[in-house]
Subunit: 124 residues, 2 copies
Amino acid sequence: MEAQNDIEENNKEFTEECTKLLMAMSDALYVIGGKWKLMIIIAMARGNNRFTELQKKVTGISARVLSSELKELELNGFIIKKVSVGYPVIIEYQLLPYSETLEEMVGAMTRWGMQHREKIKNDK
Amino acid sequence: MEAQNDIEENNKEFTEECTKLLMAMSDALYVIGGKWKLMIIIAMARGNNRFTELQKKVTGISARVLSSELKELELNGFIIKKVSVGYPVIIEYQLLPYSETLEEMVGAMTRWGMQHREKIKNDK
């Protein structure tokens, strides 16, 4: 009977852990999910701070989508939009310290992408 | 002049590294991107192997989408669909060793999700 309780207790913990992980993944995907946000962050971390630079660097993104992704990244506190006074007006996007919390995730994903490049190319 | 060349060389390397990282991220997102694949993998890694179990566990996913996501995960070699002989027929999905290569990424993303839960809740 005690063994049975132990098993049930373990199952319950296992189920709760699963739910917790799913919730965490869902939260992460809610904020940085989609095709573009992490790519924009990578491009910005390597010195592409103007809208046109970003659009050129992040291949395939349309101006409309880039604009809306930048707005969401700003809303979530990852980047800031800086508008210079003067003529011509210069608009630059800069990473905020909060974006550094993404480093582990970005590292893991790009490492995986590099390691599995050949297989992915064949699957495409 | 030499210094100028060094700067140009550094800039070139920097740009190439950026392109390489963007390509790797794009590859990774091509295979495991979207709202559901990594969540399905988490649920399967914790013993949910039947279609109905997965649908229950991965909150919000429709049967149609789950079915198509499972097919893609199978095509990409992360899981296998096992159909038992007998009556009733039992269909189970099992993780293949290739799915273990996702562990670092899944770990990084769920840790981030857990650490930033409060902020994400407030942003929602």
